[in-house]
Amino acid sequence: MTDWIVLGLLGVLSVASALGLLLSRNAIYAALFLVLNFVIGAVIYLVLNAPFLAVVQISVYAGAIMVLFIFVIMLLGAERLTPAENPPGLNYQRPLALILGVLALGLAAYVLLTRQASAAPVAQSVDASPTAVGLQLFRNYVFPFEVVALLLLAAMVGAVVLTRKTE
């Protein structure tokens, strides 16, 4: 029961901060709403028995990625967002996007509410300590791990090359 109260509260907060991101007119406020959303996501991970991911979420998403975002927003001085106007010839785009979004949401709700959850019993909770995640990562997923390392290197080189001032 307490689990339900906690999950419901976290869900409301999460959706509210996401709506804040969607509706705010200032890019810095939007970024801060997103940080709030990520922190709430970390707490949901804790409830869902994923402590390692909760800490990674805080340090990588709420820490590194959002600092990069806010840094770029302030660097460009682009925090004041002009009210969006429709580009010519695209007047139907915004209402259509709204309708399709609400439709997708209704579809998800329909599927989740009408389909019975599979009868398989809920599995026993697994040991999700950082040790267990690390063992899994380095025993069964070593190759993807190395590929991701290469990807990060490529991204770093790409970012440096892209932002270098051409003489």
Partner: protein
Amino acid sequence: MEPTSFVVFLSSVLFVIGALGVLLRRNALMIFMSIELMLNAANLAFVAFAQRWAQLAGQVFVFFVMTVAAAEVAVGLALIVTIFRTKRSTSVDELAQLRG
């Protein structure tokens, strides 16, 4: 309704809000942040199912999604900075022509 269904529904709500952000906002930075929101929603579903089936593979996959998101943000923000240098704007409507 069990907790897993609730979290998966929450994840789909967040995903739809992110998709609406991509479709409705015209600022490249806002679009990027909405994409992050969508990635985060997918991660939430992964963790919910990992807990439901007591499999660590879901959590490991979330770890990979986070690293790919970090790489994507680094390259994407570098692109936005470069575009801002030439266009003096971060609106995607300004990018409707092929020549610089």
